[in-house]
């Protein structure tokens, strides 16, 4: 394990190391470091710090190892936030980690994911060069979109060192409504109805037990009126506000609902597959949360991971193992087993200094 203190040291380690390299940030997603081969692990937790924050531009630039809770604190002082709602912030996850893993939280539904907020990126390539893509302004189409490519890449193209992100003004007030639809089928039906409405939900989640949960945010003065009109969609809405409300989402984002022994898997899905997936998973007593309007399944898994691998493969889904041990972080069918991905890998990492895709 290497603990570089600077970008120059990362470059030196890259040039001198032999085994394929893997990168570790805050260590909150150890499943991503799963592999069969001997590797050189590079820990970036000391390469941290906010390099530039320009509230008036709604942008900041930080080193990859910067902890997200440090960033959130600084943004919050200026009534701004990262609307892609990064998960595992309280557990110590880093900006580089959340970007390389491609993780977004519940508010991805209303605002977009980490891919939609990354503006610029620097990375150390396999031959030790420091490369850049994108820019530091909120709009840019010059050159290839390497910042987006790096989202979800798990450091397989290079070591991400520096990231520029777009941020948004924080809403004045938030509120949450919950309905108990009794079962997943009814919950999915209700979720689809809400997703076609004109209400600008920030988050739209459902649980396997039939709970439907929505979050709204905006100006304090209009919040109650909006709540009243949303509550009319279905009887029995329970409303949460203020601290209780924010703690609810924080607990979901930080996966406090998982048992310590649980593995955690993220699976991109579509709303139409929720019931089918849920029915399969229910046989294994897995914990299931369907977030982002039925576009992301978060699965807490306690059985053999090989079984889940098979279930996902049979359903044509790809999963990402965040917590748990296996021979790879990717489960199910390969979402990127294609010529384009292979060519990109060959161009960015010709000597296979990083793990294969």
């Amino acid at each position: 394990m290497f603990y570089p203190q600077s970008i120059e040291e990362i470059q030196r380690v890259v040039v001198e190391s032999h085994a394929p390299m893997v990168v570790r940030g805050g260590g909150t997603k150890p499943g991503l470091l799963n592999h069969n081969d001997s590797v050189t692990t590079i820990d970036l937790s000391d390469v941290s710090g906010i390099l530039e924050y320009r509230p008036e531009e709604c942008t900041f630039t930080a080193l990859a190892g910067t902890r997200l809770n440090d960033i959130e604190e600084v943004l919050s002082d200026n009534d701004q936030w990262m609307p892609f709602d990064p998960p595992m912030v309280d557990k110590g996850s880093t900006l580089g980690g959340v970007l390389a893993a491609g993780l977004s939280g519940p508010c991805r539904y209303g605002f977009g994911g980490v891919r939609d907020f990354v503006l610029g990126i620097s990375w150390v390539s396999g031959d030790g060069n420091l490369l850049n893509g994108g820019g530091r302004v909120v709009k840019n189409v010059a050159g290839f979109d390497f910042p987006k490519l790096m989202v979800g890449s798990l450091g397989r193209f290079g070591i991400i060192t520096e990231i520029t992100m777009k941020v948004f003004p924080q809403s004045q007030a938030f509120a949450t409504l919950e309905w108990d639809c009794l079962n997943i089928e009814e919950a999915v039906k209700f979720m689809k109805l809400l997703s076609l409405s004109k209400i600008e939900f920030l988050a739209l989640d459902i649980e396997s037990n039939g709970i439907v949960r929505v979050r709204i945010g905006g100006i304090q003065n209009s919040l109650q009126k909006r709540l009243d009109s949303i509550a009319r969609y279905k009887n029995g809405a329970v409303i949460f506000k203020d601290r209780e409300e924010s703690e609810k989402w924080s607990s979901l984002r930080n996966f406090c609902w998982l048992d310590d022994s649980c593995m955690l898997i993220k699976v991109p899905i579509t709303p139409d597959i929720v019931c089918r997936l849920d029915s399969k998973l229910s046989h294994y007593e897995a914990l299931r949360l369907y977030s982002v309007g039925g576009n992301v399944a978060w699965i807490g898994w306690m059985d053999s991971i090989v079984k889940l691998d098979k279930i996902l493969e049979n359903l044509g889904l790809t999963g990402l193992l965040l917590l748990g041990e296996y021979n790879t972080p990717w489960l199910g069918t390969s979402a990127f087993d294609n010529v384009f991905a292979a060519k990109v890998k060959a161009a960015l990492d010709p000597k296979n200094r990083f793990m294969s895709l």
Partner: protein, 464 residues
């Protein structure tokens, strides 16, 4: 180009689909950027995806360059033909293959017109959000290639933020499917890389687009200011107040006068600048936001504020903005439009610098731009029959781009690099950054045939 290539092309499609006569090629000699012109050896108009794939494979086999073209609205010369190659016109691939309302996505072919996606989905209360000014004619394939923006991308984002998946034919003829139907994904964001690659990675045949509900309501206002600087400062105040309008657009006096002379949108012609701000969302929410917005607008020195009270009044405010480029065409025989981006807080000083440059060269510059994201659109007005003036205009435009880079901005916010800004890429990226992009291009397109004279000046070889 050998005879056998054209013969083989006609084995793939009918003779009627291959244009070679000079008069047939003329309409394809340039795109929205008319400063560049070139005649291709042939234009081929495939009717279906399988024909496109066969054509690309033939080009690869014969190392014949191709330029994929939709409606030819690129403002950076992105679909300028290559004289040694062919143009593949994709307008006939215009089917909306799937419109899934419950899942909120559409699967479209590359030749589908941007606005047709919204038209097809509006009955269900949905729309496709990216709205480039050319949305009535431009194609989704072109939008994907150039990651097109539009007036409303301040809140909604660009094309890239709305593309979920792509079926593409790579320049070597391989067909790949990247991304999917889900809003989220795992693994590297290959869709993100493909969008905005300006045709260098091949042709997107089918695109899965995200649809979003139409907003419940809009609030639009037009504010007149004595100076550009005050209008620019108002934009910063709006952002500082925590508002997130869908659009914030500024026009200078020269543009206002041009617009009023043609489309009569009711803009005050004595204003130094007008600012258009639009809010959208739930009605109760935007009414509250609008109160806050009006307060900021008055405090920022606006002397005349018009609010749209209905859809017709809103359309009138936008009519002026959307007609701006056409109106400028009436007051100048030719113009160069740049689309560099500066940090938003530098808008005022950047515009002052453009004014000084305009004075230095003795050439008029009309400014109309997406102020919310610092995306300038200076229009350098000149007479194209005057060689000396053309040269000066190009120098002036080039100085504006350099200024954007110097201020920490970028050379293009939404039009793309194309032919027009190739020489500025080196000013924005280091040699090593450029090498990485060229290496990637060469691996994806080993014969250098897919729009390969765009984005990079090929005088440069990676590593040299």
């Amino acid at each position: 180009m050998s005879k056998s290539f054209l013969d083989k092309l006609k084995d793939i499609v009918t003779d009627e689909q291959v244009l070679t006569a000079h008069s047939e090629l003329i309409p394809y000699e340039s795109d929205g950027l008319t400063a560049f012109k070139a005649l291709p050896r042939a234009v081929v108009l495939p009717n279906k995806q399988s024909e496109v794939i066969s054509i690309v494979r033939l080009c690869h086999e014969h190392s014949v360059p191709f330029v994929a073209r939709g409606s030819g609205t690129s403002l950076s010369g992105g679909s300028l033909p290559n004289e040694r190659g062919i143009v593949i016109g994709l307008n006939r691939l215009n089917s909306i293959l799937d419109l899934n309302i419950e899942e909120r996505y559409a699967v479209v072919e590359c030749g589908v017109i941007n606005n047709d996606v919204s038209e097809a989905s509006k009955h269900y209360g949905l729309h496709y959000a990216p709205d480039p000014s050319s949305q009535l004619v431009c194609t989704i394939g072109g939008n994907v290639a150039f990651n097109s923006g539009g007036a409303h991308c301040l809140k909604h984002g660009m094309t890239s933020n709305h593309v979920l998946g792509i079926k593409a034919v790579l320049p070597d003829g391989t067909v790949v499917q990247i991304g999917g139907h889900s809003l989220d994904s795992v693994g590297p964001d290959l869709v993100g890389l493909f969008v905005g690659s300006e045709g260098l990675f091949g042709i997107a045949l089918e695109i899965i687009l995200r649809l979003v509900p139409m907003p419940e309501g809009f609030r639009t206002l037009l504010a007149a200011y004595p100076s550009m600087e005050q209008a620019g400062d108002a934009v910063s105040s709006i952002i500082d107040a925590g508002l997130l309008p869908t659009a914030m657009e500024i026009m200078d006096n020269l543009t206002i006068k041009a617009v009023e002379a043609t489309v009569h949108a009711g803009y005050p012609t004595d204003a130094g600048a007008v600012l258009i701000v639009e809010l959208e969302g739930e009605i109760v929410e935007i009414e509250e936001e609008f109160k806050c917005l009006r307060k900021i607008i008055y405090e920022s020195g606006a002397y005349n504020v018009t609010s749209a009270n209905n859809q017709n009044e809103r359309a009138l405010i936008w009519k002026g903005r959307k007609g701006a480029f056409g109106a400028l065409g009436k007051i100048s025989p030719a113009y160069i439009v740049q689309d560099g981006v500066v940090p938003r807080s530098q808008l005022g000083s950047a515009l002052a610098e453009i004014d000084s440059l305009s004075e230095k060269y003795g050439i008029r510059v009309a400014n109309v731009f997406h102020a919310g994201d610092g995306n300038l659109h200076p229009n350098v007005l000149f007479n194209n029959s005057d060689e000396e003036m053309l040269e000066k205009a190009e120098l002036l435009a080039s100085e504006i781009v350099q200024m954007c880079i110097r201020r920490g901005g970028v050379i293009t916010g939404e039009h793309g690099v194309g032919m027009e800004k190739r020489e500025f890429m080196n000013d924005m990226f280091s040699d090593k950054d450029m090498d990485q992009m060229l290496i990637l291009t060469d691996i994806i397109d080993p014969h250098q045939i897919a729009n390969n004279d765009k984005v990079f000046s090929r005088s440069r070889v990676p590593g040299i």
